[in-house]
Amino acid sequence: MIEVIKKVFTLDTWKVILPAIGDTLFMTVFTTVLMAIFGVLLGVALFLTQRDGLRPLRVFNAVFGAIINALRSLPSMVIIILTMPLAKLIVGKSWGPAAVIIALTLTCVPMFARMVESSFLEVPRGKVEAAKSIGARTWEIMFKVVLPESLPSLIRNFTIAIIAVISVTALAGFFGAGGLGDVAVRFGWNRFLTHMMVAAVLVLIVIVEFVQIGGDIWAKHVVRKRHL
């Protein structure tokens, strides 16, 4: 036990861990940015087109919702395999961190889109009606009422979504993308190098804590500023 702990803090261990941290962060940051952009766009589309939404489009909403649900029901692993040809087309190869980002994004965008939609739905109808009553245009209601009013909830959901991104990056290791999850499996599990596993898991825990605390501070800051 003590041996293992000692080994966790040796140079050799960190020679493996440090590049893995780089890979994990690379995948996380890229996927998060793409997830934020497309998740918000799709969330807005879902919110606007619902039955009693600001721009109801029943067929679009139903089809679109079904696609999102289908993507959400597929295991990330399956999505990675299915997107390999696509990745090859876009980044030139079907493996490595860049290739895997497409699959990660496809996994995380539908989830975040639903989170964004549900944050928007929490905004009291009366506020939207008040905006309508003064003749606000749909985009004004969206960007001056619904989005800012739901900001604390959006931030909390975003935090949860980033943490989900970090956890799916672990899968990417199977496709040569590296990362901490990969280290934990390849060294820790396959080669019985427990200290590698411990080190990788420790770093993952620290990253996740960091994201969660950051998100909490941000959300609380917004709430406090508004005196809610």
Binding site: P124, G126, K127, E129, A130, A131, K132, S133, I134, G135, A136, R137, E140, K144, V145, P148, E149, L151, K225, R226, H227, L228
Partner: protein, 263 residues
Amino acid sequence: MSNNAFIRIEHLYKTFSTQKEQIEVLKDINLEIEKGDIFGIVGFSGAGKSTLLRCINRLEEPDSGSVFVGEQEITALAHDELLAFRRKLGMIFQQFNLLDSRTVRGNVSFPLEVARLNRADIARRVDEILELVDLSDRISFFPGQLSGGQKQRVGIARALANDPVVLLSDEATSALDPQIALSVLDLLRSINEKLGLTIIVVTHQLEVVKYACRHIAVLEAGSIVEQGSVAQVLTNPTSDTMQVFVKVNSNLTAGALTEGSGI
């Protein structure tokens, strides 16, 4: 009625369909409201008061019938024209419906941004209107820092910001304690006098009618059962609704007005 009716509602019908049933909420509503009036719409809960009010700015789309404001037939407006019309109309709500993400200044600016005024004009107008509702010293506060009465005054300021021709009020004083409610009604009365604004007040409280309105219409299960000047209707109520209202009201002692009859 009079020839100078400013708001005319003709043969208005509205039905809500739920999965199980069709609820006929408004049945053949006919109304005329003069310019500069404070007009009350009263009735029991569920009578259709809010629905009628919301048909005037088409927050609710009537099934048939027409609404005229001035020369315009509101029920015939295309979407863009409707938005333009709404910018000339203010609405206040029981739950205030202010934006928590904006300060008092930001809330009152909102309709002016929508109306595409430039920044300097917005700033000037916001100062002016906050002066009118006596909230100049709270301009940088968020709604979360205001009392109910102050919130409703911000709501009124927002509704008045773009110089509306009509103000719609849906139970605007129902969530406030009697004293504060009285001060909000005073504010509405003084705005009515100063600006000549036509105000339509939905309420289930006779005190509000007595204190603020000149004419009323009584709504009972989706139909107007009685209308006229307040004095006329109160001294000689003919509808069941109004007889109950007047009876309950006269059973209350005079003191009850300030002790929680909830103006």
